[in-house]
């Protein structure tokens, strides 16, 4: 009995859930309508703050799925925000092709819709592979290897669209970010599918264990016969692909591309979601469920902060305070201190009988 209580408190996932529930509780006290979900029969959609939180967290959740494994490998990928911009730019490029020939945005696409979806995903996957090759094969440091695409990616996106902002009214494309399925906004459906696919891939095969093994000790893993470089490459490629998916959702939400502002600070939010979810920045064990909750925590805080009428930029200060608390609790010396304290207490308890 005592043991299970201990393990619950040691589990970082439990902490994340408790944190999310606490924030929701505060939200519920401040705004009694917060949990209210309404069904609109004419549009066939559910409406409510909770649905909105899940909907708006879709991009970060999807990227953070890949980022979790990147961080479990002991790396980081700071190029994801730029890849979001790249995906949007190429999708809109294919939808509008030549703005001088087709100047008015409308319900049409120049290139086939399948290309509009596939080409951006393919480009982002290739960019992820580029990161993976640099890190896995050439053993570059992850920060510097992904820095290259973070700097160059936005340049590529700008050149693809000639530095212009395209808008589109093409219905199937707008459906990705604005449509609904089973009464839920479509981004939620995509998120559920992506998360389920990644989880099945990672947990039902040995891949997740491989990633953790490489993250704990790359050399030992290599000696035991794991192809570390291949695992690293797969993880970064997957992250690139997922950034592409997020980029399509983002550009569909705003029905346009914005190479300057699309995906700015997404890398930070994704890393934050992973860290909040209990995956340690030093690599090793990771929790995909934790990451999803981490992403929801970020979005809930953002919504709550908006509710107070605080500007969107200042949210960063709140995020900073939250990360600070989380990383200090997670840090090794504090953990040791807590453990010794607990041990001492237990001893005292035993002595007292």
């Amino acid at each position: 009995m005592k043991k299970s209580k201990e393990s619950i408190f040691k589990s970082k996932l439990a902490w994340a859930v408790v944190a999310e529930l606490l924030i929701l509780l505060v939200a519920g006290i401040l705004e009694p309508n917060f949990f209210h979900i309404e069904y609109n029969a004419t549009t066939g959609m559910f409406y409510g703050s909770l649905i909105d939180i899940v909907n708006r967290s879709a991009e970060i959740t999807i990227i953070a799925m890949g980022m979790t494994m990147v961080i479990a490998l002991g790396g980081t990928d700071i190029s994801v925000g730029a890849l979001v911009a790249v995906a949007g730019a190429f999708a809109l490029k294919l939808l509008r092709w030549d703005v001088t020939l087709y100047p008015t945005p409308g319900d049409y696409t120049i290139k086939p819709f399948i290309l509009v979806i596939l080409v951006p995903l393919l480009i982002c996957t290739a960019m992820g592979l580029f990161n993976g090759v640099l890190i896995g094969k050439f053993k570059l440091q992850p920060i510097i290897a992904t820095l290259i695409l973070m700097v160059a990616g936005r340049g590529i996106a700008q050149i693809a669209t000639n530095g212009k902002q395209f808008t589109t009214g093409y219905t199937p494309f707008r459906f990705i970010g604005q449509g609904s399925m089973f009464g839920l906004p479509f981004p939620i459906v995509i998120t559920i599918v992506v998360c389920a696919a990644v989880m099945i891939f990672v947990r039902k095969t040995a891949f997740g264990t491989f990633v953790e093994s490489v993250g704990v000790n790359p050399n030992a893993s290599r000696v035991t016969g794991l192809k570390s470089d291949k695992i690293i490459m797969i993880v970064y490629t997957l992250t690139g692909f997922l950034s592409g998916v997020a980029g399509l959702i983002y550009s569909s939400r705003i029905s346009s591309c914005d190479s300057n502002n699309a995906g700015v600070n997404y890398e930070m939010d994704a890393i934050l979601a992973v860290v909040l979810g209990g995956t340690s920045m030093t690599g090793g064990k990771f929790s995909l469920v934790g990451t999803i909750i981490g992403s929801l925590i970020i979005r809930t805080i953002t919504t709550l902060v908006y509710y107070f009428g605080i500007t969107s930029e200042s949210i960063m200060a709140f995020k900073a305070v939250i990360i600070l608390i989380v990383i200090v609790i997670q840090s090794e010396p504090v953990g040791k201190w807590l453990a010794t304290r607990q041990a001492r207490r237990q001893k005292v308890g035993e002595l007292r009988g």
Partner: protein, 353 residues
């Protein structure tokens, strides 16, 4: 005798320690020469164009001095641009809105910069938090506080600031019995003086002081440095504190340059600073790097946008792509120089950064 001398030269050039710096200087000279050949008639060869490289990038250079030291210890600091932006905001808000003395505002900004640097240093040193995460928190905090102060750009209208920003040192030549300004007017301003003084101070600290040798020792191998009895923790704290000082100084230089404070100023500036240092031959894994390399790294990064401006037809976004390519080139070069070959079979630096 002669052979000995040439041997010495060959040893100097092929020494991996200097090779990176020499490569940076070489590539800078090649690109600059190419610029003179291509756009010499448009005025690229003029002294004014050369001096503008300094004037326009002095703030990046000042920040890069601190960043170089942080990178040599094996750390990284993502907060520099946010701290610089915060400094600009302090000066703008203090002088324009509160009507305070600008010197007081600058002193306060530098104090805040140093304290933030020390705070992040403490997280890295004593709580063993990865520098990437610790400084990311600092970045969020600085940006958030910046936005809390004001969301709008505040212009600086202060006599002393105007005087400081307007101070120029002209190049003179002696002709016809009196000193006249060289035409077209080439000048250096206070920012450039600060930049060059900081580079000199940085060089002296790194090469001539005990503290500088400790910085290299910590970056080379922290464990060994600790076993040798070097003050590892103190050194790291001082390096982060110094970097905070440099960021605040860069913020002052930027405030003098644009004469305003804005919460979104210098977004992504930390990557400019890091890539300048990397292009200058500073090894991200720590232990290797020279101030003079960083100096030429800043110049090399500055000459590319200048060339694109002179070309006139290229999109300015090529600047970003070329910077990305340069980072890739130099990281590959580092890999070859430090490990003798591009493909490394044994060991992987993926884990540690």
């Amino acid at each position: 005798m002669d052979k000995k001398k040439s041997n010495k030269l060959v040893n100097f050039v092929t020494n991996p320690k200097y090779l990176m710096v020499l490569a940076t200087i070489g590539i800078f000279l090649v690109i600059y020469a190419a610029g003179i050949i291509m756009y010499g008639d448009k005025g690229f060869a003029k002294l004014r164009t050369f001096m503008m490289l300094f004037v326009d990038n002095a703030y990046i250079g000042i920040s890069a001095v601190g960043m170089t030291m942080v990178l040599i210890t094996g750390g990284i600091d993502l907060s520099v641009a946010a701290v610089a932006s915060l400094t600009g905001m302090f000066i703008a808000y203090g002088t324009t809105v509160l009507g305070l003395d600008p010197v007081l505002c600058m002193a306060f900004a530098i104090l805040v910069g140093v304290l933030l640097g020390l705070g992040m240093g403490a997280l890295v040193t004593y709580l063993k938090i990865p520098p990437f995460v610790a400084t990311l928190t600092g970045m969020f905090l600085a940006r958030g506080v910046c936005s809390l102060i004001s969301r709008e750009s505040i212009s600086i209208n202060n006599e002393l600031i105007d005087k400081m920003a307007g101070w120029k040192l002209y190049f003179m030549k002696y002709s016809g019995g009196e000193w006249v300004k060289i035409k077209p007017v080439a000048y250096i301003n206070l920012n450039v003086v600060l930049f060059i003084v900081m580079i000199i101070i940085g060089t002296i600290i790194l090469q001539k002081t005990r503290f500088g040798r400790n910085v290299y020792a910590v970056g080379g191998n922290e464990q060994s440095a600790r076993l040798m009895g070097l003050p590892v923790d103190k050194t790291k704290m001082m390096v982060y504190g110094f970097n905070g000082f440099c960021s605040a100084l860069a913020g002052i230089a930027y405030a003098l340059y644009v004469k305003s404070g804005w919460n979104l100023a210098l977004q992504g500036g930390e990557l400019d600073v890091i890539s300048a240092a990397v292009i200058g031959g500073v090894l991200l894994s720590g232990g290797v790097g020279y101030m003079i390399g960083t100096f030429f790294g800043v110049l090399l990064k500055a000459v590319i946008p200048s060339l694109i401006t002179f070309n006139g037809t290229l999109s300015s976004w090529w600047g970003k792509i070329i910077t990305g390519a340069l980072v890739l080139l130099f990281v590959a070069l580092q890999q070859i120089v430090m490990h003798g070959k591009l493909f490394k079979k044994k060991g992987t630096p993926h884990k540690k950064e």
